[in-house]
Subunit: 158 residues, 2 copies
DNA sequence: GACTTATAATTCGCTTGCATATGATACGCA
DNA sequence: TGCGTATCATATGCAAGCGAATTATAAGTC
């Protein structure tokens, strides 16, 4: 006889409280799928689009800075940039001051996509937030942010 | 000049409200990483563990039923089961009543891992929920669940 | 100046996810 | 009975993550 997943009553709410399934994981997956569907006509994916958003705020970031800002491994940004570069949304230039580094610059076409991303974020949020009270939505976003920080800190500690 | 991501003030809270980064995606990623770290000594990943949790509730599910319950493509379960089977946590038996189907059965070793999973879920939640009021946590979990349903419905509609 | 150590990016190999195509079996209907 | 259609699992190929190993360059130390 295994642990009783169906009647477990934790002292405080946990992710199992919802329906004993990985809600956070599912939610992120569904969001990504919807984003990718909406972005497909523009030739990018949601992960690639976030790279452009970072470059929009500060163009010419080094790949390692990009990785740090996105909390992602450098190898991940490396491949994202490969694809963005392949479509002409971004270009790599070796940093003359440090020849190990690449500076990544969004092209005009790349910059234009940030506008598209912003619009689509609101579209996806509109779908996701349907039927949720504004007050509770605000609480949720704050709590989610805190959870991310908690987990990030724990992973850094390991 | 692109859209002003830094000062956009939507009429109601959106995922951009937090810090203009993909919080939901980050959160799921961090959770998975932490889960996989904790599960590694047991020889499974979090995705594989959820398969076992479903079999714990009803052993002998068909792969397509498993996929439907997990809201995942059948090809995904197929490969998860490959790996679980390779480690002896699960076994496939052709359904005598429908020779197209496989019935998937968790072994004793597989069943034992569900207990481990449950414990680790509470551990990860404990980290994630640090410093969050119980009332707000409850609201968040309910809201997250609703968001998942909203997105799932939209994806089904497309 | 030579040596060691640290950092930047990439390559390789792995897991999870998707879409699409294929082969095998089941089912419905004429 | 047979034929078309639907369903189950898998094969293939792609994107996004990760860790570990590798190469090139910088930086610090003796």
């Amino acid at each position: 006889m295994g642990p009783d997943l169906s009647t477990a009553a934790p002292s405080r709410p946990s992710s199992l409280t919802v329906d004993h399934r990985p809600v956070f994981h599912d939610l992120a997956r569904f969001r990504s799928t919807l984003f990718d569907t909406k972005l497909k006509p523009h030739g990018i994916t949601i992960s690639q689009a976030w790279v452009l958003a970072h470059l929009w705020r500060k163009n010419g970031l080094r790949q390692s800075e990009l990785a740090a800002q996105m909390d992602v491994a450098t190898v991940t940004t490396s491949k994202l940039i490969d694809r963005l570069e392949g479509h002409g949304f971004v270009e790599r230039r070796v940093d003359p001051a440090d020849r190990r580094s690449n500076r990544v610059f969004a092209t005009d076409a790349g910059m234009a996509l940030v506008k598209v991303l912003t619009k689509i974020v609101y579209q996806v949020d509109a779908v996701a937030n349907e039927g949720i009270a504004e007050e509770e939505l605000a609480i949720t976003l704050r709590v989610i942010g805190r959870m991310r920080e908690n987990l990030k800190a724990e992973l850094a500690r390991l």
